[in-house]
């Protein structure tokens, strides 16, 4: 479903984010570069603490500063650098040109505002529409995302909605200004599988209708397989592999990606095969790794891995991997 022209909507270059805590500095994102193409759905996968959320939060300046600090990096959106923008400028981009959906629909809605007010807020602020116009827009949005009796429910509060419905409301808010880019950070993780299927179906349908580019962050390799065009795998604050979705699942090159895929039981599994697990724990990131961050857990580790951290290396026109086994110099 890749757009034909494939122009880049968003280009991120060498993004580095750290958090200065009492226990030391956490190197959450350590030089991440990627691009998002027009109309593309880019999946970012990784386990907790791999830096996937911090990466996109940094782009939109949603990390608390301090303790957070964006040490380095550029993020070009429409020829302008998001990282260099002032708070005022970025506020105009957020919610207007770039929409976002968070993981937890319980805590990301304001409990003392009606959902109508919350959907209308960005429409009035960014598009300068009147109250009545915004209300019409909000009703249209609620219908689009499949909330029955949209007009009546506009004046309800978040607690009157179920988890799945709240996530639909979040999506309505994110789409209220018809953004070019939608960032969805684990949007279905807090939901049950039948509700998750509803939300995924909805986002697929909205994508067809509105043609926006989407970054979908998740730890669930199953979801990514079903919706993404291209996938980025993150580990220890680095991108360790990047490829079109079918290529990645058919031909995973990084031992971490291989391990992740092997550790998943599959519905179509024949008989109880043993899961291949990845031994050990994810890195704690208190220092910037000088060796490959995956080396302590890697079954194929050799000397080079401990001496130097491999950079992301193109092994074909669209497949990149950061592993010394694949780097041919």
């Amino acid at each position: 479903m890749l757009a034909k022209n494939g122009a880049n909507v968003l280009e991120v270059h060498n993004l580095k984010t750290r958090f200065h805590t009492h226990d030391g500095t956490i190197h959450a994102v350590n030089g991440v570069s990627f691009e998002l193409k027009e109309g593309e759905l880019l999946g970012i996968v990784g386990e907790s603490g791999c830096g996937k959320s911090v990466t996109v939060m940094s782009l939109l300046k949603l990390i608390p500063i301090p303790p957070g600090e964006i040490v380095d990096g550029r993020a070009t959106f429409h020829g302008r650098d998001l990282i260099a923008m002032s708070a005022n400028e970025i506020r105009h981009v957020r919610g207007h040109q770039i929409g976002f959906i968070f993981q937890d629909p319980m805590t990301s809605l304001n409990p003392v505002m009606t959902i109508g007010q919350q959907i209308m807020e960005p429409i009035r602020a960014h598009l300068g529409k009147s109250r009545d116009e915004a209300r019409d827009d909000a009703i249209r949005l609620l219908r689009m995302i499949g909330i029955p009796m949209a007009e009546a429910r506009l004046d309800d509060y978040p607690h009157q909605f179920s988890g799945g419905m709240r996530q639909r409301v979040m999506i309505a808010i994110a789409l209220s200004c018809i953004p070019q880019v939608l960032i969805a950070d684990e949007p279905t993780t807090a939901l049950d599988v039948t509700i998750q299927a509803q939300i995924i179906d909805l986002i697929k349908q909205l994508r067809r209708e509105l043609g926006m580019s989407i970054i979908w962050i998740t730890h669930d390799l199953g979801i990514v397989a079903g919706i993404a065009d291209r996938v980025i795998v993150m580990y220890g604050g680095y991108i360790v592999e990047q490829a079109p979705v079918k290529e990645l699942y058919a031909n995973p090159k990084h031992p971490y990606t291989q391990g992740l895929l092997g550790s998943l039981p599959r519905l179509e599994e024949r008989m109880a095969e043993r899961l291949t697990n990845i031994k050990g724990q994810p890195p704690n990131l208190f220092s910037e790794p000088t060796s490959c961050p995956f080396a302590p857990r890697c079954p194929y580790v050799f000397e080079r891995c401990l001496e130097e951290n491999p950079a992301l290396w193109p092994i074909s026109s669209n497949h990149k991997v950061a592993c010394w086994l694949e780097i041919k110099e």
């Binding site: 049950d192 390799l221 990514v224 092997g262 599994e269 994810p282």
Partner: protein
């Protein structure tokens, strides 16, 4: 691990209602019907998977079986005794044989106790071992779950989620139980760590002939670990059968929808899949719909489903379903 070694646990028409209290004098105004009349057997040495979405009553079922909650009605026959009728002393004597592994490894370990004292507590409580022998047993248990004996003097906060879950497993194993209720033991863990814990549970089962009731919302993991599977919806079991039957020939429309909704980590398969997208949400267990509990979301529902509760039928050999339409 055959199914014919005999029944270890028999649950008959089990109900657990939680009262809803309102007002200043806490008047009872209704019931949350968390578990509403379920029956099943657990065979010795097997893993029975209990799967369902949040609020379906699967965790309550596990807790009621172990008598962490008193039953509202029904029988729980474990080794020939009805646990629901035993007095607390008789129950205490049976406790070493049935243990539980909890979902949240952060909340289920006392932060002020060392790992050693957490694991030895049940052993001391039941007066099994003391002194040097106890210490040796704790070390043995730590090694069994893949931790080091030196970890005994440390506190839970010094461990990661996966390691903490191992501590919880060591505690559950301390008294050589026969039956363990695993209540979402991997839900709070990362994917790569989930596989470690599941492999450990499988190894321990093979080594000690343990029987598991494995409660999870993760259909892929349930399929991986269980020999038989029970699917719950709104306090009832809607389908029960061997793993193969339930996953390859699901009879209940809810099971069919649930299976079709699970994402598979394979883009080629995902592209070809036809999803059954259920409409709406799960109704409240305080006010379950009349007739079949699933009829409000069922794509096939007819008038009969709205009026009559479907019977629990053995539609195929050892494959049970509660649906008027299944055939």
């Amino acid at each position: 691990m055959t199914n014919n070694d005999g029944v270890l646990l028999k649950v008959e028409n089990l109900k657990k209602y939680f009262p809803i209290m309102r007002g200043l004098i806490r008047r009872k105004v209704g019931d949350i019907k968390a578990v509403d009349g379920i029956s099943f057997d657990v065979y010795k040495g097997e893993t029975l998977g209990l799967v369902g979405e949040s609020g379906c009553g699967k965790s309550t079922t596990g807790r009621v079986i172990l008598q962490l909650y008193p039953v509202t009605s029904g029988k729980i026959i474990f080794k020939g005794k009805d646990l629901a009728k035993l007095d607390s002393e008789a129950l205490r004597k049976l406790r070493p044989m049935m243990q539980m592994i909890f979902q949240d490894p952060h909340a289920s370990l006392n932060p002020r106790m060392t790992v050693g004292s957490i694991i030895s507590e049940p052993i001391i409580e039941h007066g099994v071992l003391r002194g040097r022998k106890l210490q040796k047993r704790v070390e043995e248990l730590l090694e069994l779950v893949g931790l080091s004996p030196t970890h005994a003097s440390r506190y839970p906060h010094e461990f990661s989620g996966g390691q903490r879950q191992r501590i919880g497993i060591a505690r559950a194993l301390a008294l050589n139980p026969e039956f363990i209720v695993c209540d979402e033991p991997i839900a709070a863990l990362d994917v790569s760590i989930q596989a470690q814990v599941v492999n450990l549970l499988e190894d321990l089962q093979a080594e000690f002939g343990l029987t598991y009731l494995f409660i999870s919302h993760d259909l892929s993991m349930i399929r991986h670990i269980s020999q038989r599977v029970a699917v719950m919806y709104l306090g009832r079991i809607v389908e029960l059968g061997s793993r193969k039957n339930v996953y390859e020939d699901p009879l209940h429309p809810y099971t069919q929808a649930l299976l079709s909704a699970v994402p598979t980590p394979d883009p080629v398969i995902e592209e070809m899949r036809n999803r059954i997208i259920l409409k709406g949400d799960v109704p409240s267990p305080a006010n379950p719909p009349p007739g079949c509990p699933f009829h409000t979301r069922c794509p096939l529902a007819v008038d009969l489903c709205r009026q009559e509760v479907p019977a629990w039928r053995e539609l195929r050999p050892r494959h049970w379903v509660a649906c008027h339409l299944a055939e």
